[in-house]
């Protein structure tokens, strides 16, 4: 009977308790959010600035090369050396967005610790069970209920602790008693627990980019499939197989100085470059995991149709170019490096969509830059 009285009184006390953060806490949280927004905007600004600058450099190089090749074509000498210097800038580390959560959890943990010390709890409290048959652990003479013998036990093992999400919802001081009320949620529900998400540490990636082949002044695409594995919270390893396809016109004859005759048939020489490559990459993730920067080694096999050639006008009144092929470039294997940045745009429980840019260079002197999207889907091994 006494037990029931005690339980009822505890229940009455628990009713209507709600946790309302103070105004000061809310103001701090709001300030944090505003700061994060500003930083995000800054990151986007830098990425866009880098992309525009890269495209500008590429266009200037193209224009220069066009001019060089026209003069080269007239003198029947072919020269095609080109080099691009692109410096990669390290982006600033992202702010820690969890800090306000950490502050909050610190406050909560203080309360928990106080509660634990007060009631001599030896373990984390997964659920509270009031039992008057046990020995007194705490006796508070100021409270009627506390005159009774009771202790608070942990029921570890009785309830699956992984399925319990605990939130202290109220802390109230009455007399000398401090009652911490814990709300246990989602018992028995199939909510993804932390252990379940931790096992989804592998993901299949598909990346597609608009890519530019620097030395050949060709444009095209880069596509790759790969598997990524997380190493802890901040690192990951990504192995892949990719394909690049680039094409473009022979540039010296494109701006034909002489108008073509009516019914004249004329086309410029076309160049196509196809590459198969694998790039084992090590990623480092930001604290929030929404930005990752990777560096990897490139192993690339390239097949291309480019050649050393001479372009010459066939004759007066014809206005058509002919191409003398002096030598063709053999298919070759090269090694190099690639630097990649991937920014998370959208995430669901299993899938991620990101914006990706990369820069790669190899021993053959090929520079390939690209920007595009990355799609990732998590899976369990």
């Amino acid at each position: 009977m006494e037990n029931k009285l005690f339980e009822n009184s505890i229940e009455n006390r628990m009713e209507g308790f709600q946790m309302k953060p103070s105004e000061a806490v809310w103001q701090k949280v709001e300030k944090r959010i505003q700061k994060e927004k500003k930083r995000r905007a800054l990151i986007w600004f830098w990425i866009m600035a880098m992309a525009i600058a890269g495209a500008g450099i590429q266009l200037l190089k193209d224009a220069d090369k066009n001019r060089q090749n026209i003069s080269a074509a007239i003198s029947n000498n072919v020269s095609g050396n080109n080099s691009i210097d692109i410096k990669d800038e390290n982006s600033n580390a992202l702010p820690n967005s969890d800090s306000q959560i950490e502050n909050h959890s610190t406050n909560v943990s203080r309360l928990k610790d106080a509660f634990k010390t007060q009631y001599h709890l030896k373990d984390k409290y997964y659920a509270i069970n009031v039992n008057n048959t046990k020995d007194i652990k705490h006796n508070n003479p100021a409270s009627d209920e506390a005159q009774q013998n009771f202790s608070i036990e942990t029921t570890k093992g009785f309830i699956n602790k992984e399925k319990i999400d605990q939130h202290p919802i109220a802390v109230e001081k009455k007399g000398n008693d401090t009652i911490v009320i814990l709300r246990c949620e989602d018992i028995g529900q199939s909510k993804a627990s932390s252990t379940q998400t931790a096992t989804l540490d592998r993901q299949l990636n598909f990346n597609a980019h608009l890519a530019f082949h620097g030395t050949g002044d060709l444009s095209g695409t880069n596509m790759e499939f790969g598997m990524e594995k997380r190493w802890g919270k901040r690192y990951g390893f990504y192995n892949n197989l990719g394909v690049t396809i680039h094409s473009g016109q022979e540039v010296s004859t494109a701006p034909n100085a002489y108008p073509l005759l009516v019914n004249s048939i004329y086309n410029a020489l076309q160049t196509v470059t196809f590459g198969i490559q694998t790039i084992p990459t090590i990623y480092r993730y930001s604290k929030r995991g929404d930005l990752k920067i990777g560096a990897g080694l490139v192993g690339r096999y390239q097949i291309n149709s480019s050649s050393t050639y001479g372009a010459s006008l066939i004759g007066a009144g014809n206005n058509q170019y002919s191409y003398s092929i002096y030598g063709t470039e053999p298919n070759s294997f090269s090694i190099g490096y690639r630097i990649t940045a991937d920014l998370l745009l959208y995430e669901t429980k299993k899938n991620k969509l990101g914006f990706q840019i990369f820069f790669q260079n190899d021993t053959r002197g090929d520079v390939i830059t690209g920007l595009g999207f990355s799609f990732q889907t998590k899976y369990k091994k």
Partner: protein, 234 residues
Amino acid sequence: MKYKNKNYFIAVFKVYIMLLFMQISIQLDAQVSRKIKFPERMLGFHAGYSHHQSQSIGGFNFGINHEISINKKVNLHNDFSFTIHTGKENTHDGALPNLATLTATNPYFRSAPLKYVTAGIQTFAGISINMMKGRIKIGAGSILRYQTTSKPENYTFNVVVQQITSGQLYSTNYRINSIRPHRFSAGAMAFAEMQLYKTKKINTRAHLVYQLDSQGDRIFSAGIKLQKTYKKTS
């Protein structure tokens, strides 16, 4: 009388136990038959030799494939592949041996034939039927293809010979009349697969493919397909 009743009750109890046992066994059987069967899914990689019959050049193809067995006889296929073909212009090498007594105009450069590269990206969706307990599959479907090529459709090859006091000099050149460097097309593909080796998780198959598209490109491929079975968990 008591004994008779006792025997009677024992007999009834035995019958009841037997019926109960039968009922339980029927229920267990029913549970087995009610098991949900997920369709078998396979994710794989394929690669092999490929011949671009319209351009008469050889090369290879490779890609990834996904297959779902919707029942014992029928499978759905979805592939994403790359094709790469390369070759050189034949007239150059055919004509020059007849001009062996000549020397090139510019000795610094040698005369060389034009080199072609044709690269394609394509996706396939189709259906196949199992034969001989799934050892052979025959199927067909539709493709969408993007192709870029450096091979001219129409060109002229010229050999220019110059008479000088010490002998004859020659030079060669190409005049490109028409070329279609980029093409998008839709088409059809037919294929046959034969099982070579199968373990619990990995399936190795040989496959033959023939495809044609709306731009008139015909491609034949023969290669190997490696597939791994998996279960969709969600």
